[in-house]
């Protein structure tokens, strides 16, 4: 690479001076690292809100109709602490929507997408810094709408996270809580699209010299494919939310049918199509970043190159493509031409092939590696475990015949919580423990991290396998009081044990909250490269300067260069940076040649 070429790269992303004012620096910042932290904080706070709502659901399934301890006296004063049927609807609806759109999405995509993509491809910022700022503040507006929904007339949104009409129209859920939530989904969708466009463009245009697509860390691959899905499919959710909003506010009749429609009438099933055309890509939007992050971390902490790197890339690309053509498996029970149902079943089951490639690559990456059991690695392994459980239970639901029995049972709830909740949660925590030293320049306590891991992985497995068993025994999801059905009464002890596990799981998260906040304020200072890893973000200071890199790095090799005998001979370590020049053998003094 000659000087003129390097100059072109430097000119492309010039170093801007650090912003001086407080507002420009911390509030309306254009810096992708600051915006990432804004997304991280919002996501973590709403994760706690969503988790609290989950505890209320678990209380209801263990002790239906009894006053909720602690939370009941705070939040449910009007009903003496008891969750009433209408309140129960709003609790599980808000739990689902908050967790998906306002907790996992901002943490995995908003925070780590923003933080990792420019640093890992050697860029000084996103391609469109102002769009990035707009994306966060649009997201903040949607958070305001969510909070408004909690104070809506007749309570918050209560039509389930899927928001199916006719329940979600004015007939099923009158009151503006539902309307606020539909608006919040639209607005957060706009934010996701803005972020997605930024990520896609940044990866295409701002990779450092030498950073070919097949030298990008798998984290970047996962986030990039996620961004592509966001750009293409979030608008479809946007259209569904828009039409539902018009139905609710302006009296259009897109989704209202039957006796409720005065002249003609729309089609409630139309909403299901629009929702799941988006909804199935969405589940991969939530898991692809975690797949990428875990693929990298497993390699870094096994001190081995990732097994069949290109295979993992191809598998993730194939999953991305297939995710667009399988949505019908959510509608087997809606009523569908059997031939169409079989086609969707076939396509759905084909997804397990690339997923299996990824899974085997993870196992072969850690096979006979020198495994370091730091918290990021533990959480990555935990993600592999819970995702394995979630993936296997998905086979039952993807095939039409068992789905007829299992549809709308707690088995479905257990399945998608193991994949979307448990696996994304484990992936997010792996990412937080892994990049914390880079983000905040300090180190988290590894002992508390390990305690947090074992506490979480055991209990999260118990919670969601408990749901699988209840569902297999026939318990429908979303029941206010399952024990009104005599055939479910014997499940009371199972549901109670599952609820205890959930309560203890939540209690364990306070270990993390303490560790996170305490380490940020008073943890030991982190070195620039505490994990001895070769990707670009570890070759700048911790935390990185405003412009990330003083000089644009020139990338020479892939992200997982471990255990190379030549590197060991010349540098005396088992890893080498992506942009690090390996010294010539001849230039080394004779003694260090490892005679």
């Amino acid at each position: 690479m000659d000087a003129a070429e390097l100059k072109a790269y430097e000119e492309l992303q010039p170093i801007h001076p650090d912003p001086a004012s407080f507002l420009r620096r911390y509030v309306f910042s254009l810096d992708h690292k600051v915006i990432a932290k804004q997304f991280l904080w919002s996501g973590l706070i709403f994760l706690l809100v969503g988790g609290t709502l989950a505890m209320m659901i678990r209380w209801q399934w263990a002790y239906p109709g009894q006053p909720v301890p602690v939370l009941g006296s705070l939040l449910l004063k009007n009903s003496n602490g008891v969750i009433g049927p209408a309140t129960y609807m709003t609790v599980f609806t808000m739990h689902g929507l908050i967790m998906i759109f306002f907790a996992i999405t901002p943490i995995l995509i908003g925070a780590f997408g923003n933080y990792c993509i420019p640093l890992m491809i050697g860029a000084r910022d996103m391609a469109f810094p102002f769009l990035n700022l707009a994306s966060f503040w649009t997201f903040a507006l949607s958070l305001v709408l969510v909070i408004c929904s909690f104070f809506g007339q007749l309570g918050a949104a209560g039509a389930g996270w899927t928001t199916y009409p006719p329940l979600s129209t004015n007939i099923g859920t009158p009151g503006n809580g539902q309307t606020f939530m539909v608006a919040a989904i639209f607005v957060t969708g706009v934010s996701s699209i803005m972020g997605g466009i930024n990520y896609v463009t940044t990866v295409i245009r701002h990779r450092a010299p030498g950073m070919g697509y097949f030298r990008m860390p798998l984290t970047v691959w996962g986030l990039w494919l996620t961004a592509i899905l966001n750009v293409l499919f979030v608008p479809v959710l946007g259209s569904a939310a828009l039409l539902l909003f018009l139905d609710r506010v302006f009296g259009t009749q897109f989704f209202i049918a039957g006796a409720a429609a005065v002249k003609g009438g729309g089609d409630p099933i139309l909403f299901q199509h629009l929702f799941w055309i988006f909804g199935h890509p969405e589940v991969y939007i939530l898991i692809l970043p975690a797949w990428g992050i875990v693929s990298d971390i497993l390699s870094f902490f096994s001190r081995k190159p990732a097994n069949w790197y290109r295979g993992s890339v191809y598998a993730m690309c194939l999953v991305t493509v297939l995710s667009a053509v399988v949505y019908g498996h959510h509608m087997f029970m809606t009523g569908m031409n059997p031939l169409l149902g079989q086609s969707f079943m076939l396509l759905t089951l084909i997804i397990s092939v690339p997923a299996e490639v990824l899974f085997l690559n993870w196992l072969r990456t850690i096979w006979s590696g020198s495994i370091r059991t730091d918290p990021p690695m533990l959480f990555a392994l935990g993600m592999v475990f819970v995702f394995g459980l979630g993936g296997l239970t998905g086979l039952y639901l993807g095939a039409t015949v068992p789905d007829i029995y299992l549809h709308d049972t707690m088995f479905v709830v257990g399945h998608f919580h193991l994949t979307m909740a448990a696996a994304s949660f484990m992936g997010s925590l792996a990412a937080i423990y892994y990049w914390f030293p880079k983000m905040f320049g300090r180190t988290m306590s590894p002992g508390l991290g390990k305690l947090h891991f074992w506490w979480s992985v055991v209990l999260i497995t118990l919670v969601f396998t408990g749901q699988l068993i209840a569902g297999y025994a026939g318990q429908s999801r979303r029941l206010y009081d399952p024990y009104q059905y005599s055939f479910l009464q014997h499940l009371r002890p199972l549901n109670q044990y599952t609820s205890y596990a959930a309560f203890i799981l939540l209690a364990g998260q306070f270990v993390f909250i303490y560790n996170f906040i305490h380490s940020m304020a008073a943890g030991p200072k982190a070195s620039d490269n505490p994990w001895s890893v070769g990707t670009l973000e570890w070759f700048t200071t911790s935390p990185p300067p405003h412009h990330n890199f003083d000089r644009v790095p020139v990338v020479l090799r892939g992200p997982h260069e471990f255990a190379d005998p030549e590197v060991r001979e010349r540098l005396g370590r088992d890893w080498i940076g992506q942009a690090e020049v390996l010294p010539d053998a001849a230039a080394l003094p004779a003694t260090s040649r490892g005679a």
């Binding site: 391609a127 463009t201 010299p209 499919f233 009438g265 729309g266 020479l556």
Partner: protein, 197 residues
């Protein structure tokens, strides 16, 4: 070392490079919008396929002539704007601003004609809450008109911008032209799908 570096970057000035990046961003935005409008047209198709008769009996028919002429207006506006972009590229900077103003004026004519159409149909009794047929008409045309409004804001900014245009200085013009063509193309599909068929 250079053998290992995969990318070879032929020298182009940073401004041209950043322009190309911005244009890629616009294309992605338009792809996203196209998905949104596709979903809306899909919704229209499903609602219409389920309806017994379209339009339902006793409902005023949508006129063809006024929106048809309007299609020509917004098409002409796109052509004039393309002309402005070509002038900027060729360095005929004095011709850029009048052309942008012409395109803006035609856009305003389009919106005014839409307003006329709306008020006429409203007085004929085509209300937004009168069933699926008016739902489709009002939702699609108003949502499209909001995009036209955004585009007009962009064009007004282009016309009022104090900085001149030149062969290397027309990024904003290029981006808004792309957006304006998109809005026009969506109108063409909308006219054919909702009014003609």
């Amino acid at each position: 070392m250079s053998a290992q570096a995969a990318t070879v970057l032929p020298y182009r000035p940073p401004r041209a490079r950043n322009d190309a990046t911005a244009f890629l961003g616009l294309l992605l935005f338009l792809g996203s919008w196209a998905m949104m409008f596709s979903a809306l047209f899909f919704a229209y198709g499903v609602v219409r396929a389920h309806a017994g008769s379209w339009p339902p009996e006793g409902t005023p028919r949508l006129p063809l002539l006024l929106p048809g002429l309007n299609t020509l207006v917004i098409g002409a506006s796109s052509l004039v704007l393309q002309r402005a972009l070509a002038s900027a590229r060729a360095g005929r900077t004095a011709q850029v601003r009048p052309a942008v103003m012409g395109a803006t004026a035609l856009g305003l004519v389009f919106l005014a004609a839409q307003g006329l159409l709306w008020s006429r149909l409203w007085s004929e009794g085509l209300r937004i809450d009168g069933g699926p047929y008016p739902s489709v008409f009002w939702a699609l045309t108003v949502f499209h008109a909001l995009h036209v409004l955004v585009g007009l804001g962009g064009l007004a900014y282009l016309a009022s911008r104090s900085a001149g245009y030149g062969p290397a200085r027309h990024l904003a013009l290029r981006l808004w032209t792309g957006f304006w063509h998109f809005v026009g193309a969506v109108w063409l599909v909308l006219y054919l799908a909702v009014f003609v068929i």
